[in-house]
């Protein structure tokens, strides 16, 4: 079982809704990530948090808003999404630094209608 927990596992939202995806890890990792994975495609990096500070934003549209309230939690706030944003959203964590293993959660399946 993964030690990165994501909720909800499935989410269906309308284009005018506001929702949030949540992620939690208790491995003491100080790097946390959001990835997006479309069907039959590899994961694509969206955001990286290092020591609770946003360090990387891979030109993600502002309708996705990440938040890291503390070292164990990572949220992804969603607003005014488009149907093409439907995907599996993966949270991950790792110790900070090159060469460390990144641990992935099971993901949240998002459908925008």
């Amino acid at each position: 079982d993964t030690e990165v927990t994501q909720t909800p596992k499935h989410l269906v939202m309308g284009m005018t809704n506001k929702k949030s995806l949540k992620c939690e890890q208790h491995m003491g990792h100080r790097a946390m990530y959001w990835y997006k994975q479309k069907a039959k495609k590899p994961p694509e990096l969206m955001f990286v948090y290092s020591y609770e500070k946003l360090s990387i934003n891979e030109s993600v549209p502002s309708r996705f808003s990440p938040e890291c309230p503390n070292s164990s939690l990572l949220n992804l706030h969603l607003h005014a999404l488009q149907p093409e944003d439907s995907a599996l959203y993966l949270c991950a964590s790792s110790p900070w630094g090159a060469g460390n293993t990144i641990y992935f959660g099971e993901g949240s399946w998002l459908t925008v209608v």
Binding site: V48, S94, G97, A98, G99, E106
Partner: protein, 113 residues
């Protein structure tokens, strides 16, 4: 731009056959290399990784990979596959100093019993 290529998109093997999945990357600096596996309906799991030392690395479940720097390759091998190896396999490369993984396109392996 840095990229990771997996040339085999779909592979079908019979049980006990040998497996080799190709991975090439385009990056001139020091790299850290990973193979992740995603079983149907499950999260991404690390199979093995390389960041220094012996270029032949052994991972879980009988998998191994060889880093050949001159060929910019990190191919995954297993001498005898099992039906339970049916999954999608992703090669990934560390970029920059942190843990920002760039994934290859994935190889979908089906093992026939």
């Amino acid at each position: 731009a840095q990229s990771v290529s997996q040339h085999n998109h779909h592979v079908i093997l019979s049980e006990a056959a040998s497996l080799e999945l190709g991975c090439n990357y385009s990056y001139g600096g020091t790299v850290n290399l990973f193979w992740y596996v995603q079983y149907p309906g499950q999260h991404l799991q690390l199979l093995l990784k390389y960041f220094s030392g012996d270029p032949l690395v052994k991972g879980i479940k009988g998998f191994e990979a060889e880093f050949i720097k001159s060929k910019f390759s990190f191919n995954l091998r297993k001498p005898s596959v099992q039906w339970s190896d049916t999954a999608e396999y992703f090669c990934a490369v560390n970029r920059n100093a942190g843990n920002m993984l760039t994934f290859g396109g994935g190889t979908r392996l089906m093992v026939k019993p």
